[in-house]
Symmetry: C2
Subunit: 143 residues, 2 copies
């Protein structure tokens, strides 16, 4: 396996609502929903996803939880927030603070206000509308 990761797919309850959070609330550019021509069935997943092109060729997609479950061959689990987090590296402490405020205004829950951590970063956590954790990080060692 090469050290490669090309797509991050987040399970969501309401595709339109979550696209609006990331596109309109946080400002990520998006074409909106792609793949809606694949409508699925009781057993087959639909193909509609929210599609975001990130830097360096990385793709972020939003996929209804039930479709991810069908597509992966698993029953849908009860949602859980402490499975993973996504780390966004900001350019300054002020950008951490402002991005956390922006997320909260868009409906995110601040689970941990920004503060200095023992390993030398300043960061805070929010959970998105589906409970997925983001850590917004300023690392002075990277500047």
């Amino acid at each position: 396996m090469r050290p490669r990761l090309s797509v991050i797919t987040l399970a969501v309850d309401d595709l339109d609502r979550s696209i609006a959070f990331y596109r309109d609330g946080l400002g990520l550019p998006s074409e909106g929903i792609v793949g809606s021509e694949f409508t699925g069935s009781a057993t087959e997943p639909a193909g509609a996803i929210g599609y975001f092109e990130l830097e360096n060729g990385l793709i972020l997609t939003l996929y209804p939880r039930n479709d991810l479950a069908k597509d992966s061959g698993l029953p849908p689990d009860t949602p859980a927030s402490t499975e993973f987090s996504l780390g966004y590296v900001a350019d300054s402490r002020a950008e951490v603070d402002s991005l956390m405020r922006k997320a909260a205004e868009a409906g995110a829950v601040i689970t941990d206000e920004p503060h200095d951590r023992p390993w030398g970063i300043y960061s805070g956590y929010f959970s998105d509308l589906d409970g997925h954790l983001w850590e917004i990080i300023y690392n002075p060692k990277l500047v």
Copy 2:
């Protein structure tokens, strides 16, 4: 927010076991554990993480679930597999098949054997030792 994602952190139950899965089982290069000098406490998270540098500057880290919970200010949830998936783009159908076999040999569970999907990709899913989903994808449109 820029369309940027720098770090993916996966919650794990056993750091050594999960590092071995990704490093020795799947072959991702890793320095192993970093940050073990930050030992934490009953309320403060420890800093030890499994650290993997991926292509394009992306970082994959493995973090004990209880530490991620403390660090993010949340109680640890019951583990769930249908929160997200990570997509790896292989260069051929044969690479999808061989990587799925390699993951299974390393202890992953194949949740969906590779097959053609309506939207034009060939892919399969496995869940890692902590239940995190990976989709191994061949997309002929990308070749």
